[in-house]
Amino acid sequence: MKGKSGEALNQMSGELLELANRYCDQQLTSDDAKRLNDLLRLDSALVALFVEFVQLHGQLAWDAGHGTLSGRGAPANEEFLASCSESVSDVSGQSSAGNRRLSSTVGSMEMARSRSRGLRSYLTASAVACALVTVSILMWQSVSEVAQEAAGKGDIADIRNSSKDVIDKSDSAPLNPVGVVAQSEVGLNPGAGTDQGGASENSVAAASPDESLSSLEAVSDDGDTSDSLVSSGAETQSGSDSRVPVITAEVSSIPDMPTDDYAIIERIDELLAKSWEENGVVASPESEDAEWLRRAYLTFAGRIPSAEECRRYYSATGDRRRRMLVEELLSDARTAENLSVMWVNLLIGRSNPRGVDQAALQAFLMERFQKNEPWIGMVGELIAAEGRSDQNGATNFLLAHLNDQATPATAVTARLFFGQQVHCTQCHDHPFSRDVKQDQFWALNAFFKQTSRELIKVSLPDGTQKDVWKLADSTGGGMTFYETLRGQQKAVLPEFAGHRLTAADGIDRRDELVRLLTTDPDRQVSKAMVNRMWNHFFGAGFTTPVDDMGPHATISHPELLSFLTDAFVQSGYDTKRLMMWIALSDAWHRTSSTNFAGGEVVFEQDNPVTGTEPLFTRVYPRYMVPEQLYDSIRVAIRSVSGQPMESSLGTLHRTEWVKQFVESFGTDDNDERLQFDGNISQALMMMNGEDLEQAISLAVQSLVVPASGKRRTGSECLEQLSMSVLSRKPSESEERAFRNRQRTLVRTLTVEKAMELALEDMLWAYLNSAEFIAVH
């Protein structure tokens, strides 16, 4: 095959170089490859030329990877770092940790150029994290805004309260708000002095202890018709002839309501599609499996999937696998656990300032969620609970809120179960919702009037004693008194959804409230739960905030909310079915990222954190809550090291860990604020930096050399890392970052050590990424 003319060889050289160039850039088509093979077989001169060319490519790649290609131009590495300095500072914990580890292990190795190495490895380690983190931040940029919004939620409420006719007394004296007077004092000190100049049409001049129907009428004759907490349509019980309310409303039959799950899901899709059309928007494309899989686990089970669970999902074929996963997760005990943790936090908070039995409450909730008890039944149990805090977990909800004349119990009940923010109406009428009056707050509060708690000593089987709370009711009746901002005394009877109780003794008022819930024509319990669950899945509810659905609230999708409210009632308040409908709705499968053609447009037109109404054309990313973060880090590290998942992750330690993020205000509303802004390095530090560092180091060691089986290659290890942390395969840029890191390290370390350290750095970088900490 030798002896071709020089001209022919020349021609072929040109062609060969063209092909070699494509080869270097991985741009060869299969036809190109065929030709390249032919040419290389043809002449050894061409092989030499080919090698020369591709080796030059190799030199450029190698030297660039080692920083010797910077030439006189701008040193790209520094430029790169400068361009993401913010992210570098975000992950400074990671960088310095990486640096520290390095310097301690490298000591014995021969290091000719050790002086510059320290800085370089620092830069490289930062760059690894930086490369990952910046990419992710761009994709999930809205997350930080969401967190800010969440952190500022209290402020928003404050702003709302501080409208002009609200006197800021309530702000200046939060521990002793005006208008709350101990009941016993009312009779003795009716506030006659302040009463004289004011309008007196409603004031109860001297409230006598035995209230009768006449004073009941005195309360209601102020001309305002809608006295019920929210409902306007219900007929108010006149109270003139019946001392016990008669429940007549029927809620069971809802015309035109599909009972079939698929029909319900279809209707959700229709209503959302209609709203997209009306708003002239296009929804995001369907999410990748990795994104959706992670979202599903975090939403249902409250943690990321393990690497094993990811692989199981990916190995299932067919388009039914998402549906199958939803069904599997619904019946999984971890979903019940996750729901119970969520609701413990909502019901009594994380900081538990009143020292109630958090664990017993959670056990109660977990058991009910696991059995999928009707939601309205659970609400009823929580409201009507009696007995000991350790024996009846449900009692702990009210036990945590009975302080200050049960005003927190009133506010929290209204907010969580009815989606009504009434705490500000405790002291005054709602500032801009004329339908929400101060007396409605106290009418709800009156249901808790009989309820009291006491600390009792009980003997344990082992002979020791402990203190437990006991929740009990008196049978006494009577009215509840409160004071207006003008200092007038008023009195109300328990009233909910248009039904008013009498003042008579012998009525168990909490039981009555529970009965009234089921006949509420507004279906507030259902509506509030639908909204909260929708918010849990999408990162935004139909109202903002999710638990403020009063008459003044703007509802983004009234028809859909009302449809789901009815469907949930019709289902018998079946929590799991509600979750299934939302999870299988078309919208919940759309991507949260803006990383697609037109993504920026979707992002801009549908971005509720800017204060616009959500359109649900995508799922809104948000930060994990601390419990999700804690469990997810554990799952990730156990996956890396190949350990099986524990059936129950250590909840005790988690509870303690989470408390670090909680600031309890100790106010009357028993408010607390979560001081968690998604700063993962802070979170990782709080995990006890050294423990975590050791856990990661050990996990990586057992990843590289598993207890049974052969040593793994670098790419196998990296894949396990990214699968464990981000539920997906590593991206090309991540593989590059890993290799560059490894390449730098191997010059001064043994191969094994270099690979381990590079993997550790990658694991830190993954854990530090916005992609990890976001539920997206």
Partner: protein, 174 residues
């Protein structure tokens, strides 16, 4: 038994670049070359006692690398099967020859990169410094990918010519 001595570690460290350059023409992508190099290193490290001091370390490593390349090709996707096994053998043989003058080549290349036009140097640095694909470079620069690939090809040829010239003039001088 003691681990590898200082001499071994030094030889090992020095051989990294040469091995990388040996592997590169056989696989074309730096990610694959890196992976194979690391696997080669693992083997080298585990067989350190089999190395005879005084013999050619790079040649020893190359033999290991060659086996790793073929092992890698067998379990990887079709991207690597673009070249036939026989062609890879041809390249491997040739590649082994050409890395002997790698040090001079490195210096020459560094100088040639410095002599590039500003624009061309920037393109090369973008492509290699953070080791991104031509598509990504094109995106960064807002240029069509096709034209970036063409430019890269042209610059590589310029650099190859430049290195050749410098090596031949250096050869003539000594």
């Amino acid at each position: 038994m003691a681990g590898p001595g200082e001499d071994f570690i030094r030889l090992f460290t020095q051989a990294q670049r040469a091995l990388y350059l040996y592997i590169m023409p056989l696989v074309s992508s730096s990610a694959d070359a890196d992976e194979i190099l690391q696997e080669t290193n693992v083997v080298i490290w585990s067989k350190w006692s089999q190395f005879t001091p005084g013999t050619n370390f790079v040649a020893w490593g190359r033999a290991i690398a060659r086996l790793e390349v073929f092992r890698y090709r067998r379990r990887r996707d079709s991207r690597l099967q673009l070249l036939g096994d026989d062609v890879v053998e041809l390249i491997a043989e040739q590649s082994a020859h050409q890395i002997s003058d790698a040090d001079q080549r490195r210096d020459a290349l560094a100088e040639c990169v410095n002599r590039l036009r500003e624009r061309d140097r920037e393109l090369i640095q973008r492509r290699y410094n953070s080791n991104v694909s031509g598509d990504e470079v094109a995106e960064q620069l807002g240029r069509p990918a096709n034209s970036v690939y063409q430019s890269l090809g042209r610059i590589r040829r310029v650099l190859m010519e430049c290195v050749r010239r410098r090596l031949s003039s250096a050869g003539a001088a000594t």
